[in-house]
Symmetry: C2
Subunit: 338 residues, 2 copies
């Protein structure tokens, strides 16, 4: 903590002095641990210590404590796209799961996590979008004692956990469902059909079409980009066209929201005038607004949160491994009519 030159942060020793006890006793009292081999601290000493601490405005130095104990009671969640409902669902699930164990999630939003782990010490680190080729780095961090949980469809666990969700299979499922219900289906994906960069989710869409002998219409698959503005624009352009598809499949809930917004502006009622479906199923415990038809792994957030918390506490000592989650379609209003 950066300090005023005039103000000094009170230490445990100052509290001890004021209470007329030793630093050790203060530590026992304030951390609620039984002192040494005996059962506890005498009532009146405890009271003296507590009021001395209060009077001085003493806040224990968490860094010093962490140096000794090796634990911090925090979990680092490195999340790109904090505005995505998916991210908020992760945060909420980890908060809930960690509360019992006294663990609090700290969020790093859309930042490179490498400099961060040089700055903050946490009991576990979750990374939602590891870059390609960072396997070795992860492995060495894991070997150095870090509790790493990464979300990645292909990376192999090597001392760290890998959370996998079957996005390709899931998205294929969704595309098929949409094609069953709607005569024509468009795609809203960050890079559209860009062949040099066709994501798993977009591939599933393409494959579903081709399996039915339908041809892919590029004008129905505009790239949305990665930010809200461009996603909204792309959706608007697509839905505004007189020749628009009957439904669109958005490759993230974030893009689905942009599509909902675009439909709103155009006066198209989701589920009535236009079918809209997203990928991720982050709404199941949030249900923001109209129910968005989506595909995703059931119980995903809770399971991932439990994993992270188990690793952070040290309760879960099973070997680090890959955790796969199967996806299913959740039909909601945006494809059913309201």
């Amino acid at each position: 903590m950066a300090q005023e030159s005039t103000t000094r942060r009170p230490t445990i020793r100052m509290v001890a002095e004021r209470a007329g006890v030793s630093a050790a006793t203060v530590s026992y009292v304030l951390s609620g641990r039984p002192g040494a081999q005996a059962s506890g601290v005498r009532e009146d000493t405890e009271v003296r210590v507590r009021s001395a601490a209060e009077e001085l405005g003493y806040v224990p130095n968490s860094s010093a404590r962490a140096v000794r104990t090796g634990r911090t009671g925090t979990i680092l969640l490195s999340l790109t796209m904090l505005s995505d409902p998916w991210s908020l669902s992760i945060v909420r699930a980890v908060s809930r799961a960690g509360a019992g164990a006294g663990l609090t999630p700290l969020i790093a939003a859309d930042t490179d996590w490498r400099p961060l782990i040089h700055k903050v010490q946490t009991d576990a680190i979750f990374i939602d979008a590891p870059a390609k080729g960072q396997e070795d780095l992860f492995a060495s961090l894991a070997a150095a004692g870090h509790n790493l949980i990464v979300l990645h469809p292909e990376m192999e666990p090597a001392g760290f956990d890998v959370v996998r969700s079957e996005e390709y299979a899931g998205c294929k499922l969704l595309a098929d469902r949409l094609l069953d219900q709607f005569s024509t289906v468009g795609l809203l994906a960050p890079r559209g059909l860009d062949p040099t960069n066709l994501g798993r989710r977009a591939s599933a869409y393409v494959d579903a079409l081709e399996a039915r002998g339908l041809s892919v219409r590029p004008e129905w698959c505009p790239p949305t980009g990665d930010d809200e503005t461009s996603a909204f624009q792309a959706a608007l352009d697509l839905l505004r066209s007189p020749d628009r598809p009957r439904a669109v499949m958005a490759t993230s809930e974030f893009i689905a929201q942009a599509a909902l917004g675009a439909a709103a502006v155009l006066g198209l009622r989701p589920g009535v005038d236009i079918g809209i479906a997203g990928v991720g199923n982050a709404f199941d415990d949030r249900t923001g607004g109209v129910g968005l038809t989506s595909v995703g792994p059931e119980g995903f957030f809770e399971a991932v949160a439990d994993l992270i918390v188990g690793r952070a506490t040290g309760t879960d000592t099973s070997p680090r491994r890959a955790h796969a989650f199967a996806w299913q379609v959740f039909d909601r209003e945006t494809t059913l009519g309201i």
Copy 2:
């Protein structure tokens, strides 16, 4: 960092041993600081040290460093309602402002910040929704050397900074603007017109109406609650009514988004069939979807970010004080037609 029993995290001494130098030298190399009074470290030593660190997968213990230096390079942002665009704007602004000084924001989402400051050490703490009656706590934390910046309309600075924004005056401005443009204006506020809990923003609406001799119609001011679902429902109910107002004023951007969603479902075009305005003006640098008419302090996020960063680095040594921001109305598509 919780560790495997088998794996031990490498220390600076292990690196030193492997490189055949002292711990101090390793410290100099890795923190990029010039050693003692001389200009630097010899080239070859530096190389040896770096590769030794690499091979061991050494990551410096940030807690130990923080104990020594008293600084962490992080800023704690305690934010309620992370889904609100306002919060995301704060995060983005602080990220940007802190990047140059090597400061990274860490976000605590919708959590009590008190246990947190016992767990993490940061160079500054921003609190967006301090509870009533915490003034004394803040003052004592400040006295104990914490860099506190709180957002509050009335709290008086006492060793900590208070960021104020003139919400009442601003909301009055917005309500007046809407009443100039639309014959009837409804209100979407968390607790509606609840007299026991009438917020500043809702009061401004009421006062604006009364100043014009207009009567407040309770059925146009349903409580939205604090979560997206209920906000959406409330908006839907209001806008669905045949007797709905021509425009609605939402007391946050988050509620405004719910209103936009409700309008979407009903096929009402914002700015054409229904006027919608929000409070906060967080969209100015995000422009998600349709341009939302809003009221808010101009340059707010940048100014607050600069304040936080200045306090965190210690650059800004001016006395802690209240920082007021005047609001203005930003007319955009949702009240103008698209």
